[in-house]
């Protein structure tokens, strides 16, 4: 499908173009720096989706959207803006999505999924992606980042699963968590029904197992829940979870992101939120923490490589969004300062440090580490 990008700021346009190309499901065919220019294009060319900035001189994005809706009602509109104030108007204009700058690959991925719900694999193959990138752009069959979900890769959408009970969902998640290992029955009943007498807990376990088997038969026939010698295991039939893919590719990429910026972005795009964070399972916590640390390390290395490759804008965007999540992280602050300095903007680098220093003082009553302070002092020289 063909996309048009409208933004009066050139760097924002090229950043978005690169992200869309990396995703691979849409083809950015027109980059316009004014709404007027975009609208003229639309009269001549077939376009399926428009990514539209709001704050632009002359005709703003909301006016442009209204015009586009009237003339070409089938076009999907995605607003891309630094301001959150117009989201209600965006709903009024039936926009498909509303993205806040800076945009990360993960959020963009979601937006594109709304435009191209069942884009076939053929499209990804013909859009000129490298093998590695197209392999990763195909989503895994089981999703465990953010919340447990089954993904239908043929239809390219999440398979709606109706769990009869929260316990059968937790059992399924726990067996996935254990890889394809055998898990003793007692461990499962202790985990899920700790305060229940043994025979009653066993009955509950039985019912949950039955429900999972029924569900797998309907929606994931390649998977199987096996029982042998008082133990259960969940076989995937070759399917990989998003988390396992993340872990595998993380090992390949970490320490060697240089020259592999696109694959690194694709791996980070798998991370849609903390490991099973939606469900608050206590047993998932330690792995969630580990994955979160890995994600930060990979993102920091990616930012460093982007900076080294002269893509300082991208590096700054990535670091800024990481800092929103981890406002007290020293290393993010140092890298952000360095990226600003690299981009030739010492003033912003200094501001970045001062904001960080103030935040630490006001919110934690602490001060930056010596290493961070030294980086700042070097700027002053």
């Amino acid at each position: 499908m063909r996309a048009m990008l409208i933004d009066d700021e050139k760097p924002a346009l090229t950043h978005l173009e690169r992200l869309i190309r990396a995703d691979g499901r849409l083809e950015p065919v027109a980059l316009c720096t004014s709404a007027r220019e975009g609208i003229e294009w639309l009269d001549k060319e077939r376009i399926d989706a428009v990514f539209l900035d709001i704050g632009m001189p002359e005709m703003n994005g909301l006016e442009a959207a209204e015009h586009i809706q009237q003339r070409h009602p089938g076009i999907a509109i995605v607003f891309v803006t630094a301001y959150s104030d117009y989201a209600v108007e965006a709903f009024d204009l039936q926009a498909i999505d509303y993205l806040l700058k800076p945009i990360g690959p993960a959020r963009l991925h979601k937006a594109i999924a709304r435009i191209v719900p069942d884009s076939s694999k053929a499209e990804a193959a013909t859009s000129g992606l490298t093998d590695a990138a197209s392999k990763t752009s195909e989503m895994p069959g089981v999703l465990m980042f953010r919340r447990l979900e089954l993904y239908d890769s043929a239809a390219r959408k999440v398979h709606p699963v109706k769990w009869r009970t929260a316990k059968s969902q937790e059992l399924f998640a726990y067996l996935l968590h254990q890889g394809e290992q055998w898990v003793p029955r007692g461990e499962l009943t202790d985990l899920l029904w700790p305060s229940m007498p043994g025979d009653k807990a066993a009955t509950h376990l039985h019912t949950s197992v039955y429900q999972i088997r029924k569900l797998l038969k309907e929606s994931k026939p390649e998977m199987a829940l096996e029982y042998r010698q008082e133990s259960y295991r969940l076989l995937r039939g070759g399917a990989e979870t998003d988390v396992e893919r993340f872990e595998r590719e993380y090992e390949e990429l970490i320490g060697s992101v240089k020259g592999k910026i696109d694959p690194a972005e694709a791996v980070l795009a798998l991370w849609q939120g903390g490991y099973l964070e939606h469900h608050d399972y206590p047993w998932a916590e330690s792995r969630a923490e580990k994955l979160n640390r890995q994600r930060f390390r990979l993102a920091l290395e990616l930012a460093q490589e982007e900076k080294a490759a002269g893509r300082t804008d991208e590096a700054i965007r990535l670091l800024t969004s990481l800092q929103e999540e981890e406002p007290y992280a020293e290393e993010i602050c140092r890298q952000l300062m360095s990226a600003h300095e690299f981009a030739g903007n010492k003033r912003l680098a200094r501001e970045c440090y001062r904001a960080f220093e103030l935040r630490l003082e006001e919110e934690l009553g602490a001060e930056p580490e010596p290493l961070t302070r030294q980086a700042y002092e070097r700027l002053e020289e």
Partner: protein
């Protein structure tokens, strides 16, 4: 699976659940929805807890919900219902603009500001009709396959 309901003319009945902590505005939205022959208000509540426990069993097509519900935000409440009803169309009817970006993030179906006008509601209903209609289509296909 619940077999979709149809009205006499072959029009699909849209089943809507309504949650709003403010009784007056709950009644107002209910009254406005009552004007559509193909809308069935299958339940409503001004207490989030009651809604969260009863709505999943009623399997509504759409949830009309306020973003501010006191103890729990409308977004958290609908997120919880979405877990049980993944196809649910969430429509916010609210006096606050501040959750609209998050509503996009959550893929809410629509976001309407109070006071709700008939004209704006009409647009939501038109779109709902199209969207729920397509669900019926796929459900029927599945039923056909089963038979």
């Amino acid at each position: 699976m619940r077999v979709p309901a149809f009205s006499g003319k072959g029009m699909r009945i849209m089943r809507i659940y309504l949650l709003d902590g403010d009784r007056e505005s709950l009644a107002r939205t209910a009254r406005m929805l009552g004007g559509y022959p193909d809308v069935e208000l299958i339940g409503s509540s001004y207490e989030p807890e009651a809604a969260l426990s009863e709505a999943p069993g009623l399997e509504p097509d759409a949830l009309f919900i306020e973003t501010r519900l006191g103890c729990i935000s409308g977004l958290a409440a609908s997120e919880r219902l979405l877990r049980e009803l993944p196809g649910l169309h969430v429509v916010y009817v609210t006096s606050s603009r501040e959750y609209a970006v998050e509503a996009f993030e959550q893929r809410a179906f629509d976001y309407l500001l109070k006071p709700l006008t008939l004209e704006r509601l009409e647009r939501t209903i038109l779109r709902l009709r199209r969207s729920c209609g397509s669900i019926v289509h796929t459900q029927q296909e599945r039923l056909d396959k089963v038979e």
